[in-house]
Subunit: 287 residues, 2 copies
């Protein structure tokens, strides 16, 4: 049913979606747009897209499904433009890491019977570095793909069918679909995704100041240090919009961890240390 897809933003995620769709048997057209021509060329060479388009709005207008795979604010911007030109019978979906603002905009600008449908999505997959050249057809295998659909939206019949069809493709590329409320989504990912990232950034920045001039110490740290700072390589460009659109929830999570570290620091020689280790062991027990 989906015959033409526009991927707006052929970075790591956009390129990986294109490759994964091809690997799962999608035979329709895939047009790709990217802010930098180089990223689009790479995606084209890798076979993630079949053609490069210069105008993202025109490309969306000609497509059944438009995937927004750009940073949050760029997605919000594109949504404003697209809502005026797309019509009932077209679907827009996204891969943004925070969902409250996107989902609010989706209700305001899309999802009436006359307008195009918008299905807010968030694949829990990525790498610490971005870019089309890291695109990977198996990136979404075994990952969770969250949708923050709103049950109050009334879509056209064709919009509903396209949303169902997109969900099927997400399953076909190996992801497990979970539906969740947008507000709850943003609170939850603050704990299990944004907090781990900001901890790795803070730890890496601190260690750069403390031992950055003694690179042999990195070897001394071994696997534990390597793992705990891997996400320190994540680029600001990817995380700025996340910090800006989920600020309060991230602040809460960071503050809670600061308190937890202080508690541990004050209990290095008391039975409180055992309790913290046992609680941590419990969290890891079923991983």
């Amino acid at each position: 049913m989906i015959e033409r897809i526009a991927i707006l933003g052929t970075g790591l995620l956009g390129t990986s979606v294109g490759l994964a769709l091809r690997a799962a048997g999608y035979r329709g057209a895939i047009a790709g747009w990217n802010r930098s021509a180089e990223g689009a060329q790479t995606a084209l060479k890798m076979g993630a897209i079949g053609e490069i388009v210069g105008d993202p709005i025109a490309a969306a207008r000609e497509s059944d499904v438009t995937l927004l795979s750009v940073p949050i604010y760029a997605s919000l911007d594109l949504m404003e433009h697209l809502s005026g030109v797309l019509v009932c019978g077209q679907l827009v979906t996204d891969v943004g890491s925070t969902k409250k603002q996107i989902t609010e905009a989706a209700g305001r600008l899309f999802n009436t019977p006359e307008r195009a449908a918008f299905l807010p999505g968030h694949p829990m997959a990525g790498k610490e570095r971005g870019g089309a050249e890291l695109g990977d057809a198996s990136l979404f295998k075994g990952a969770v793909w969250l949708f923050t659909d709103d049950s109050s939206w009334v879509r056209s019949a064709s919009g509903k069918r396209l949303a169902e069809s997109w969900r099927s493709w997400v399953s076909a590329i190996g992801s497990r679909v979970i539906d969740i409320d947008a507000t709850r989504h943003d609170e939850m990912v603050a704990w299990v995704s944004h907090l781990p990232q900001f901890v790795a950034t803070a730890l890496s920045a601190l260690l750069e100041d403390e031992v950055g001039d003694a690179p042999e110490l990195r070897d001394v740290g071994g696997r534990a240090l390597r793992e705990m700072t891997r996400l320190g390589a994540s680029p600001y460009s990817m995380w700025r919009d996340i910090a800006h659109t989920n600020t309060a929830a991230i602040e809460r999570a960071l503050f809670a961890l600061e308190q937890r570290l202080a508690h541990l620091r004050e209990n290095l020689r008391t039975p409180g240390l055992r309790e913290e280790f046992e609680r941590a062991n419990k969290f890891r027990k079923d991983f």
Copy 2:
């Protein structure tokens, strides 16, 4: 030159040393002692030791080299007992994670021309769980093995030769030897080893409280969450002695990270966030 080794403590490290020595061609005897009989039996079955001994002091007395691979306080305890019975021409070495107290005791109880030699060591290798059954002949391949030898010590000629021989075996099992002052060692590992561990413990304990009743959220966190909490599985029994024997340095490192997290929290919407990401990127650049 080393014909008989006693491994006191056949947990993960002791068992792995035995297996690694065999894999590297060591053909002498290896006697093993362990506080729990089960761990010794496992090490024997795996071929890490050739026989189980019931008395660690008697086993050390009959050996050229005694390896202490038990928690720090147990090592300090054994050192007191061993210094009275071992003689010049015997070597004791260890794998303890903090080195100030061990090295101080080594100077006080060993390392005169008349007494046995003691070479304080610390392989930067391990797993988040312990136990003989996880023993691994390749655990030390590519790892750094730190020694905190003291140049003021005057050993017997045979003690010197045994220490050199042990260093050669450490190289033979694949480790890179680095010599370092004991005080500097403890400060350094507080940053690159102990801090990452305590952060993972605090983060895991916090997440157990926040999302422990919703195990599906662990899947949502994906690889990043899995990695950042892997060390949360580390047992208290392994870390208690480290917290007790390196308290001040660990307190300093934890406090510095608390401040860094607070700085990041207060700058989620300012250019300060970019600076922290760029500093973190720099730390990871050469990994």
